[in-house]
Amino acid sequence: MSTVAPTRDVDGPPAPTGRVTRVLRRPEVGAAVAALAILIFFTAVADQFLTPSGVGTWLNSASRFGIMAVAVAMLMIGGEFDLSAGAMTGATGLLVGVTTTGFGLNVWVAVLLALVVALAIGALNGVLVVRTGLPSFIVTLGTFFVLQGLDLALVKLVYGQVAVQGFAKVPNFDSVRPLFGGVIEVGGASISVSVLWFLAVTAVATLVLLRTRAGNWVFAVGGAQDSARATGVPVARTKIGLFMTTAAAGWLVGMISLFQSSTVQSSTGVGDEFIYIICAVVGGCLLTGGYGSAVGAALGALIYGMTRQGVVYAGWDSNWLYAFLGVMLLAAVLVNNWVRTRAERMR
């Protein structure tokens, strides 16, 4: 019907988008390059690094941070933070530890109860943020302190100390353990089940973000909330769902660390919330929301896991890890900032 000739004038002829540009447009490219560089670096300086047992160790470390980093990345793409994510891993572990060793609750029931509690706390975080319009940074900082306080006070009240003991002796421990704390032998390497969880979580998160309606909504609420609302996206539901997802991931990591070590302390997970955010940012997530990827966050966690173990294998003072983290974070933020100004550039 239209008689209007196709035009795309305005600023000159259209330039084709090359394959290189397409690849560089992905948020996780920087993290992939950095991960490869770090792998090569530590393989060169530490003999143990690329041995089967070495790989198993840093993969396990990366997986526990990676599961959370992926969930936190989704939340950050949705424009929010969760500072209670680290404390959540401790709180869920403690809940299972205390109810089973202290009150004789069945382990399976305790594990499910912890999931329900985690989802409820996540929903509370979400509802508070959505209803009040306060920055999630503040709301979840509050939740973080509440959880940290309860972790210490309640456990002390029950045991008179801040760690759960004798968890490995509770009935049915062995029936749950393979699910969260199991180890699989693959060609001489001991790979934790947590690595499989890590892969599964990353794959599902990627699929949800890029191939579902919910994923579309996550990018939209983080990128331009008012525009999302105007086009009919259920902003509140999307954000509450994201907080619940992060809480559920906290539960999963809590179970993994509980069943791997058979013990849990009140301080477990405290401070890790910033590591998750760093992994997500190194993986290409913008702090302002609306941009990032699950694969990027997973690569960020891999970088963290490799460096953490690499520093040990190389025989260096482990405090170098933090200096390194700081440099990575700054570099990532600078790169992301540059990417965003290019992507957002309005003509």
């Binding site: 019907m1 239209s2 008689t3 209007v4 000739a5 196709p6 035009t7 795309r8 004038d9 305005v10 600023d11 259209p14 330039a15 084709p16 988008t17 397409r22 447009r25 191939r211 579902t212 309606r213 994923g215 579309n216 990018f219 939209a220 990128g223 331009a224 008012d226 525009s227 999302a228 105007a230 086009t231 009919g232 996206v233 609306g290 941009y291 965003r340 992507a343 957002e344 550039r345 309005m346 003509r347």
Partner: protein, 264 residues
């Protein structure tokens, strides 16, 4: 161009709106027909935004009648208007700058397939590309973030989206206000394209030089009142300009108009 060949999609008679004792709009009568452009002209504070808020369903009118397809309506939310096929493209466009064009195009109305309700990415990309092409926009890549498009192009994506999602009447709130002359020309072309596709268009502007070339009917508002409602045949560009405000400042705009190839 004759104006009575099609039944009016929208017909307002003596439409008015008061907020308490403040009269924001009074005595507005006009029609919007399929395949025609009704221009609403007026300076800032003339009542344009009150008028479109009533048409868009955001505010309910307090006087007169508002008929859609001949049936009187009292709308209380933009959703009511959308259900009747009346879509409004506001100045901020409701786009997410960092998201690809195709995702923006279908945001809130995503196409899904399969048992798990996965996005039908291929169909969505192709549809977005085709719809844009039908509006005369040749996008090299629907995967680019919409923020990288020019202001005029983004406006056009928003228009094409509204058309695709079933709009019969398109209300455009000052689409050319923030644009330069060339970009404005691009947007005017797409307004013409929407008209060619048989849509009724309500084009709000304070610039008679943008309104005249595409308009079929002109409604001029001043201080909340309708001071003129004319068909194109009844009014010349100069008369329209004079109705709007008149004065020497418009000579400069007339100059701008002469050089716009669209108006030749």
């Amino acid at each position: 161009m004759t104006t009575d060949t099609t039944a009016p999609l929208i017909e307002v008679t003596d439409l008015g709106k008061t907020y308490g004792s403040v009269v924001a709009l009074r005595g507005v009568t006009t029609t919007v027909r399929a395949g025609q452009v009704t221009c609403v002209l007026g300076d800032n504070g003339a009542g344009k935004s009150t008028f479109i808020k009533i048409l868009a369903g955001a505010h309910e009118h307090s006087e007169g009648t508002y008929r859609v397809d001949g049936v009187e309506q009292h709308m209380s939310s933009p959703r009511d208007a959308l259900a009747l096929g009346i879509a409004t493209v506001f100045q901020d466009l409701a786009v997410v700058p960092l998201m690809p064009v195709w995702r923006n195009f279908f945001l809130g109305s995503e196409l899904r397939k399969g048992p798990f309700g996965m996005l039908d990415v291929g169909l969505m990309k192709q549809t977005a590309k085709d719809e844009m092409a039908a509006m005369g926009i040749d996008l090299r890549d629907v995967d680019q973030p919409i923020g990288t498009l020019s202001g005029g192009e983004r406006q056009c994506v928003a228009i094409a989206r509204a058309v695709h999602l079933g709009a019969r009447v398109l209300i455009l709130d000052e689409p050319t206000a923030a644009l330069g002359v060339r970009q404005s020309g691009v947007v005017l072309r797409y307004i013409a394209a929407a008209r060619e596709r048989g849509l009724g268009v309500v084009f709000i502007t304070h610039n008679p030089h943008h309104a005249y070339p595409v308009g079929d009917r002109f409604l001029v508002l001043r201080r909340g009142r309708s001071i003129a409602e004319r068909e194109k045949a009844e009014v010349s560009r100069d008369e329209l300009t004079t109705l709007m405000s008149g004065g020497a400042e418009l000579d400069a705009l007339a100059h701008e108009l002469e050089r716009d190839p669209l108006l030749g």
